[in-house]
Amino acid sequence: MAFEVKEQVVCYHCGQLCEEQGFKSEDKIFCCYGCRTVYEILNENNLCEYYSYESTPGINLKYVSEDTYAYLDEAPIKKKLLTFNSDSFARVSFFVPSIHCISCIWLLENLQKLSKGVVKSEVNFARKRVAIDYNPSVVALSEIARVMASLGYAPQVNLSEEKKETTSSKDLLMKLAVAGFGFGNIMLLSFPEYLGLEGTETTLKNLFSYLNIALAVPVTFYSGRDYFSNALQSFKQRQINIDVPIAVGLAALFFRSVYDILSHTGAGYLDSLAGLVFFLLIGRWFQSKTYESLAFDRDFRSYFPLAVQKKNGNEWKPIVIYDLEKGDTIRVRNWEVMPADSLLLDSEAYFDYSFVTGESKPVRVKAGELVYAGGRLVGKPVSLVVEKKTSQSHLTSLWNKEIFQKSGESSYRKMIDLAARRFTWVILAVALITAGYWYWADASQMWLVLTSVLMVACPCALALAAPFTYGNMLRVFGRHGFYLKNADVIERLSKIDTVVFDKTGTITNGAAQLDFIGVMDDRELAWVKTLTSSSSHPLSNLITKSIAVNSSSPVADFFEKPGRGIEGNMGGHHIVVGSAEYVKFTGFLPEISSKVFVSIDGQVRGYFKIETSVREGIEELMKSLHSKKVAMLSGDSEADHDRMKKVFPATASLLFNQNPHDKLEYISALQSASNKVLMLGDGLNDSGALKQSDVGVAITDDTGVFTPSCDGILEGNKLSQLNRFISLSRSATSILKTGFAISFFYNIIALSFAVSGHLTPLIAAILMPISSISVVGFSTLAVNLVSNKTLRS
């Protein structure tokens, strides 16, 4: 087939490649009806400045259905969502995942120009939230949501939304501020002592010391509170973690200093203490960075709609899905997800179960048959009778599995805690031996030496090595499109020896590959294109995009039978495009894949074969993973077996027809054979496996959309880099070990001072910051060097 070479044209609104003959408004070209509509709305309202902050800032609109948001006006839902409500003023905060640029902020903050009644709207870019003040007597909440959705900024409403996480990070910052304040002032007040104030100015010396105590109290017991409570907790669980030696060290430092000052025997170590707490908290703050706008622990509820239309007498009213009872009649519209297992009332419907099973082909359901919750309707609205409540449906039963009952903390033992445990025993032994020696040599010195040992044993540098190494690595990963839930994931990632892939959406992606098999000339192809461009069906859109020739003749007698096919007359010929049945194709079908047939004047000319294409770079990835065990789990039928065989190495096990439970079982079987498993998936059907695996990574092409609960989110186009990320995480672990070694080196020096009874406040004040800073500096530098080398090449 000959194709014209065309210049590439991108949509003015969303920046997608589009047809020159596509949708036009004034001199602008758009890729679809949706984008043009948004432009027209903005143009009408004088809001075209939107396009001046960023080029093509828009979001490609997919499925907007009217009154999707009607449920927002129901009193119980409103009550949960609104943070403030009165007759003439209300405030709501929406999560809008599609916020991504400056233009988005600008447009959303000009919402009052589009929707009367909105008083003020403010965007929080980091959290991707919009806070809207509005007048409920002028505009309904559902109307605001609808306006936002029509512009591509569909709010995501989640009633079970977690209470704001920011309180904990604010809390940490406050502790850090207090520690920093204490540290700076104590250091200032300690200088005179070090510079030789002794003897002459005792009043001043005492005043400085007492002020130091006053400053050290909040530093120790407010800023350092977590270390004490964590240590206590780990004692209760009979496990020693890194917080135990830290808490012992802090306590020893504080009480020894207070004793020294009150008994006038020394200046105390309060500057070291405050510095220690300050550095430790900086480490913690550095590690606490998370990707606020990404959600890592969504459960099935986020996939379900919040509300559904229920028949109430003669009218349809929105109802929250948790209130659905057996026997209720509900109505579901195109592209909506089934909230509960129900029986179909209409004659037939197509449901896409890709959330549940991974199988991407819609399933045909006839009247009276059961439709499972999680299925997505494709086609006309249908009515159904609820069979089971949402909480008891087939899909939610997966979440009753043990793995989902467990709390977030895994049984995984962190390297830092293993090191801390050994460290603590060694220190205890050293402390006891020195105490024994001094009891025999000079009993009056025993307590002083013992506390000195405990003080310098405080593993500050040790505690800082992990946050800075993993924290830096986390940022490096984030810059390259791999977002991890927290820094601990890196450590688990470094131990991976088995990689398990999901097929749909992971190995293959949404973009489809289209081949026409049969005979048609350019003129006929152009007719088909004109015909399919009149239909909004996704397959029609695909065909429209794949044909490069254009025809100017109009379509007459266009007719579409939803879900089956389309037909029309062009240039005196009757053209039918659709399923095999629709075009009355009776021949033999060699394989099972999606096909769209074309017939012209009653004669079948051939079909478009539609295959989802394999992601770019998969081959490269497979080559790089040669040292690891590789497997694939797919919910689909075996139609793709041969193709996948070419993609995967010969040793890989390829399993088809896997339901979510099977996937989970497969992972846990691998784990019981002591493999460390990395699972890559994208759908709800993988969520069990993602949770079970040592590291579960969700693949997504758009970080704003739903991802199942996981440990990390990887951008689809970065999948080929996976092995580099794994080897980087391994480097991070060796950097961490070197950091441990450096910190032990300083500890040994400090201990030798302490054991021999020579640890003066000045030596402590010099040694402790040096050890911390050198560990921090080393790990930061090493991580940047290694990551530049690995990811640039």
Binding site: E49, I105, W106, F125, A126, R127, M174, A177, N185, L204
Partner: protein
């Protein structure tokens, strides 16, 4: 001698005021979104002048 004590008291008070101000700004949410305000100031207000 006394002047040193007075100076120390003053310096500590000033430092405490700054600490208090920082804690207040933190609590009132001024650090919640560090990106938005940096671009918001660049938006033109020409619509209002019309």
């Amino acid at each position: 001698m006394n002047i040193i004590i007075a100076l120390i008291c003053i310096s500590l008070t000033v430092a405490l005021i700054f600490l208090g101000l920082f804690l207040w700004s933190l609590k009132s949410g001024q650090f919640d979104d560090t990106y938005g305000p940096s671009v918001r100031m660049l938006f033109d207000d020409k619509k209002k002048k019309k």
